[in-house]
Symmetry: C2
Subunit: 209 residues, 2 copies
Amino acid sequence: MTAKPTLEFWYEFASTYSYLAAMRIGALAEEAGVALLWRPFLLGPIFVQQGWNTSPFNLYPAKGRHMWRDMERETEALGLPLRRPAPFPQNSLFAARIALLGQENWGPAFTRALFRAEFGEGRSIAEPEVMRAALEEAGQDADAVFAQAQAEEAKAGLRAQNEAAVARGIFGAPSFVAADGELFWGNDRLERALAWAQSLAGRSSASIR
Amino acid sequence: MTAKPTLEFWYEFASTYSYLAAMRIGALAEEAGVALLWRPFLLGPIFVQQGWNTSPFNLYPAKGRHMWRDMERETEALGLPLRRPAPFPQNSLFAARIALLGQENWGPAFTRALFRAEFGEGRSIAEPEVMRAALEEAGQDADAVFAQAQAEEAKAGLRAQNEAAVARGIFGAPSFVAADGELFWGNDRLERALAWAQSLAGRSSASIR
């Protein structure tokens, strides 16, 4: 029996289109027989290297206006709630450290809960109580996780995660990376990324499923 | 009988994703019963206003690398040829003036021929012989059109066209604008834009078709 194909899902909590991808990737990956590797990271440091001090959706107002209208249309089509958080983008540093701590187990549940609070309810994800509620929804002891996320190891872990993102050629979020390094950028490429991951596993595994 | 729904298709000859949209929009619009309004324009002046002196795909190398790989995948899926022109982006000023002259009749045929030369064959669309071949493929007298495109009226026409693009909130290409002003950016939004245009025509016309 061939190993199940995998796909890395790189997301940023402050990113609107990461919200869309996070809410729909689970069901699509299951349908495709692809195992997901959830990979939270920070776009901020990457944007700074590109000479940006905030989201391009703020730097370029026409682009930003379209993005919010597009989000209205896309969330409506997906049956997802949408409410803009203020400020935008949100400070996602601590949330990313938390999600990284749980990325191999409870990270996805925490991530979905936090994205829903942020873009579905317009809440500030930098606020401890919002992160606490998301952690509890994911079945975690929030105080214990907060303590772990404040440790030097968690800070170093997120820096290493970001270096790994840059090494993969990632420049925006969400991004998807297949086992052979093939990179797909944007929620609109999720289906293609899953199909690519499947194709790497070969036809024999497809016929076994 | 209700009027046929319309959709404006705003494109830039130097834009890779405009190539994809131009090659597939005709069949999709016909299938959807939507009348297309082809609208060539220039991204250059809009990019300059955003502080860019060239394509963002050149300014941000990681973004550019992904774009070209994405174009390989997307053209393969569409059965379209792909060959990078040098330099990128191409100077599209004269080509846009020409396409604007014919936008109500032979513009689409000229546009498809020129896009195929540029991104299918890697040719330089600023070269007169390349524009000449595309004009002839569109059944036009190239010398006559060249003369017209050099006139002050053609220059003023393209400036007005660009002002119209900005007035619609356009910041990138391809873009699609429905009769009610609804703006969709990107080749990936073509299907949604056509569905939106259809929805404006109302259910009565849909049932008549």
